[in-house]
C-alpha cells in the first residue's frame, strides 16, 4: 500500500494580509479535499506569523497561500522565513492570486515552490502537490 493512501496529505490553505478575495482559496481547498487531501482553511486576514503557527499546529505538509491585493512580495516570503525559523523548512509553500510575471522569480528565489495564476486548473495544483510530496518522501526515505 502506498504512503498516499495510508496517510492523506495535509494542506493549510491560507489568506495572508488584508485581502478579502477568497473565492479561489475556497475553490482550491474544496478541490484538494475532493482529491483526498485533508484541508484546513485559515479564513481571512492572517498575519504570516499566524499562518506559520497554524501550519505547525496542524502538522501540514503543504501551505497554499492566496493573495490578490498585490502584497505578495511582502507576505509570501515572510511565511517561508517563519517556517524556516521554526525548523519546518520541509513544508511545501505554494502561492496563487494576481501575481505579475516579473515577481515570480523573486518569490521562487524566496522559497515559494510554485505560483499558480488565474486560469489554473485545480487538477494541475493537485498533481503538483502529489508529485512534490512523493518526491520528498522518497528523498527523506523515512516515511515510506
Amino acid at each position: 500500500m502506498s504512503e498516499q493512501s495510508e496517510r492523506p496529505i495535509r494542506v493549510l490553505v491560507a489568506k495572508p494580509g488584508l485581502d478579502g478575495h477568497d473565492r479561489g482559496a475556497k475553490v482550491i481547498a474544496q478541490a484538494l479535499r475532493d482529491a483526498g487531501m485533508e484541508v484546513i482553511y485559515t479564513g481571512l486576514r492572517q498575519t504570516p506569523e499566524q499562518i506559520v503557527q497554524a501550519a505547525l499546529q496542524e502538522d501540514v505538509r503543504v501551505v497554499a497561500l492566496s493573495s490578490l491585493s498585490g502584497a505578495h512580495l511582502h507576505l509570501f516570503p515572510a511565511v517561508v522565513e517563519g517556517l524556516r525559523r521554526e525548523g519546518a523548512a520541509d513544508i511545501l509553500v505554494l502561492g496563487g492570486g494576481i501575481i505579475p510575471d516579473e515577481d515570480i522569480p523573486v518569490l521562487k528565489e524566496a522559497g515559494i515552490a510554485e505560483i499558480f495564476g488565474p486560469g489554473t486548473l485545480t487538477s494541475t495544483v493537485v498533481d503538483f502537490i502529489r508529485e512534490k510530496v512523493s518526491q520528498s518522501n522518497l528523498n527523506s526515505g523515512s516515511k515510506t
Binding site: L18, G70, L73, P100, P118
Partner: protein, 556 residues
C-alpha cells in the same frame, strides 16, 4: 394580454412545432443535450405568447418611471441623458490618483469613483503593522482629511458626483467629503454621490468588515438619518450584489442575497424609528454584468420589479422614489482571463451592453489587463471608449427597454424573480440576512465550485483557458504601484500629527468614545473629528474600543 381564443389556437400550432422539432433533433441532435442559463434555468428552443399565457401588461410591466419600474426608472431613460460613465479608479498616493481622475474627466467620463487601499477600507492608518505591503496597492491610501484635499484638488465638488467604495468606515469618508466640500465653499445640501456602506455583503463576500453586525447597522442608520436631513442628494448606501457574484454566486443568488440585504437595512432603519419614505429614496444598488447576456438583462429587470413589490407590499412605501431600484453596474472582473487577455475587450463590451439594455444608471467597464495588474491609463481609456461606443454609436440608447416584451426576456425575468423570491423567503425563515451570513456563503461557495468543475470538464467554455488556447507572451506596459508610496505616506502622516492641534483631537475623540456607547447619532461628532484632522485609524480605534471587532466564522 393575449386573446384567449387566439392563444388556444396558437397553443395547438406550438405543439405541432414542438413535435416537428422533436423529430428533427432525433435525426440531427442539437449542439448540447440541454441548454441552460448560467444559473441553471432551462432554455427552450423557442418562446412564444404560450409562455406568457397569464401575462398582464399593466400588472407585470407597466410604463417606465412608474411602478413596478421593470421598464426603467425614468420615463424616457437614456433619451434624456445617458447613464453616468464612472470608472472605478485609485492607486498609490492621493496625488497620483488625482491625476488619473483629472485624466478620466478630460476624456469624457461623467462621474468619479474612488478605490481605496485595504488599510483604509479596514480602518488602519498607513503606519499600522497590518498595513505593511498593502499601502496604495488596490486603491488610494487615505489617512486623513489632508489626503482627501489632495485627492480632489482642482475638482469642484458641486460639479461632479463621486462614488466611494467604502463600507465599514463609510461614515468617516463621508465626513471627510462633507468637510472638504465646506472648505471649497460647497454646502453639503449640494453634494451628489454615493458611499457603498453595505456591511452585510462584506461579511458574506468581500471581507472588509471591522465591527460586529449590531454596531455596524447602527452606523448605517445614523448615516441614513443624518443624510436625509442634511445631504439630501447623497446615495447613503449602494446595496451590492457585485461582490456576491464575483465570489461565485449565480445571477439568481445575486438578486436574492442583495435584496435580502436591502430588506435588512430598511428594517433596521424602520426599527430605529425612521420613516421609510424619508430614507428609502436614497438607497441605491450595485450589480454585476456577467457573460450570459439575456440572463443578465433579465436579472436587472427582475431586480427592479421585485424590489418595487417588496418596498410597496412589505414596507408600505408610498413614495415612488422609495420603490424604484436605481443601480450602478460593473462588468464581471472574474470573467477576465490572463490568457489571451485582449479577448477581455470583447467580453467587457457585451457585458456593458447587457447593463445598458437592462437599464443601468451608471456603469464601470473593466479594463482588459485586470487579470494581470491594476489597469494602465491606456487600457482604462479603451474601457471608457467602449461605453462611449455603446452610448453614441450603436443606437441602443434611443428607445426605452428595447427588449421588453420579448417572449424569452419576459419569461426569463419572471423565472429569475420567482427563484430569487424563494431564496428571500428562506432567508426570512433564518431570521433575515444578518442571521443568514453563513448560509449565503455556503450557497455562493457551492456555486463557485460547480462553475469551476464545469470549466475543468469543458462543459463551460472559456476562450483561451479551456478552448482555443495558444502559446503566448504576456503583454508589457502593465501598471506597477510605486513601492515608495508607503514610506511617503507614513512620513506625511507623521508630519500631520506633529502639526495639528493634538489637544483638540484628543478632546473630540474622547467625546466620540462617550457618544459611541449611547444611541446618539455619531455623524456630527465624526465630522467634527475629521475637521480637526483626526485620522481614519484613530477614529476607528475609538469605535473598535467601544464596539469590538467582527470575528468571521469560517464556512468551508
Amino acid at each position: 394580454m393575449f386573446d384567449q381564443d387566439k392563444l388556444a389556437e396558437l397553443q395547438k400550432q406550438n405543439q405541432a412545432y414542438e413535435e416537428k422539432l422533436a423529430a428533427h433533433t432525433k435525426k440531427r441532435p442539437e449542439r448540447q443535450e440541454q441548454f441552460t442559463t448560467d444559473a441553471g434555468i432551462a432554455i427552450k428552443p423557442l418562446y412564444t405568447p404560450c409562455d406568457l399565457s397569464d401575462f398582464d401588461y399593466g400588472r407585470d410591466l407597466g410604463f417606465p418611471g412608474d411602478y413596478p419600474f421593470i421598464r426603467g426608472v425614468q420615463n424616457n431613460m437614456y433619451r434624456g441623458r445617458l447613464w453616468t460613465m464612472r470608472q472605478y479608479a485609485g492607486f498609490g498616493s492621493a496625488e497620483e490618483t488625482n491625476k488619473r481622475f483629472r485624466y478620466l474627466l478630460e476624456q469624457g467620463q461623467t462621474g468619479l469613483s474612488v478605490a481605496f487601499d485595504l488599510p483604509t477600507q479596514i480602518g488602519y492608518d498607513s503606519d499600522h503593522p497590518l498595513a505593511k505591503g498593502e499601502v496604495g496597492k488596490v486603491g488610494v491610501a487615505i489617512d486623513s482629511l489632508l489626503d482627501m484635499e489632495t485627492l480632489f484638488a482642482g475638482i469642484p465638488l458641486d460639479k461632479v458626483s463621486t462614488s466611494m467604495t467604502i463600507n465599514a468606515p463609510a461614515a468617516i469618508l463621508l465626513a471627510m467629503y462633507i468637510v472638504l466640500a465646506e472648505k471649497q465653499g460647497v454646502p453639503q445640501e449640494k453634494l451628489n454621490g454615493t458611499i457603498q456602506n453595505d456591511i452585510l455583503k462584506e461579511y458574506v463576500a468581500r471581507g472588509t468588515y471591522i465591527f460586529p453586525p449590531g454596531p455596524s447597522m447602527r452606523l448605517i442608520t445614523d448615516i441614513f438619518a443624518y443624510c436625509s436631513k442634511n445631504v439630501p442628494n447623497w446615495n447613503t448606501i449602494s446595496i451590492s450584489g457585485y461582490h456576491i457574484r464575483e465570489a461565485g454566486s449565480t445571477a439568481v443568488q445575486e438578486v436574492a442575497f442583495t435584496l435580502a440585504d436591502g430588506i435588512a437595512y430598511v428594517q433596521a432603519a424602520v426599527n430605529a424609528g425612521l420613516d421609510v419614505d424619508e430614507f428609502a429614496p436614497r438607497l441605491s444598488f450595485f450589480f454585476n454584468a456577467h457573460l450570459n447576456f439575456f440572463e443578465e438583462i433579465a436579472k436587472f429587470r427582475a431586480a427592479r420589479r421585485l424590489w418595487a413589490r417588496i418596498m410597496k407590499e412589505r414596507f408600505g412605501a408610498q413614495n415612488p422614489r422609495s420603490q424604484m431600484l436605481r443601480f450602478h453596474t460593473q462588468t464581471a472582473g472574474c470573467t477576465l482571463t490572463a490568457q489571451q487577455p485582449q479577448v477581455n475587450i470583447m467580453r467587457v463590451a457585451f457585458q456593458a451592453l447587457s447593463a445598458v439594455l437592462g437599464g443601468t444608471q451608471s456603469l464601470h467597464t473593466n479594463s482588459w489587463d485586470e487579470a494581470l495588474a491594476l489597469p494602465s491609463e491606456q487600457s482604462v481609456l479603451l474601457a471608457l471608449r467602449t461605453q462611449q461606443v455603446i452610448g453614441y454609436e450603436i443606437g441602443v440608447a434611443d428607445t426605452v427597454d428595447p427588449l421588453g416584451g420579448s417572449y424569452f426576456i419576459e419569461k426569463l425575468t419572471s423565472e429569475i424573480e420567482e427563484q430569487a423570491m424563494a431564496y428571500i423567503e428562506k432567508i426570512d425563515q433564518l431570521g433575515g440576512a444578518p442571521e443568514a451570513i453563513e448560509y449565503m456563503q455556503k450557497e455562493i461557495q457551492n456555486s463557485a465550485y460547480t462553475y469551476q468543475k464545469e470549466v475543468e470538464s469543458g462543459r463551460k467554455v472559456v476562450i483561451g483557458v479551456n478552448k482555443f488556447q495558444m502559446p503566448e507572451q504576456r503583454p508589457g506596459g502593465l501598471l506597477k504601484v510605486d513601492p515608495a508610496v508607503a514610506e511617503r505616506q507614513i512620513a506625511r502622516l507623521n508630519r500631520l500629527k506633529s502639526e495639528r492641534d493634538n489637544a483638540r483631537v484628543e478632546k473630540i475623540l474622547a467625546e466620540l468614545r462617550r457618544a459611541a456607547a449611547t444611541d446618539e447619532n455619531l455623524l456630527p461628532l465624526i465630522i467634527a473629528a475629521v475637521r480637526e484632522y483626526a485620522t481614519l485609524g484613530e477614529i476607528c480605534d475609538v469605535l473598535r474600543e467601544v464596539f469590538g471587532e467582527y470575528k468571521q466564522n469560517i464556512v468551508f
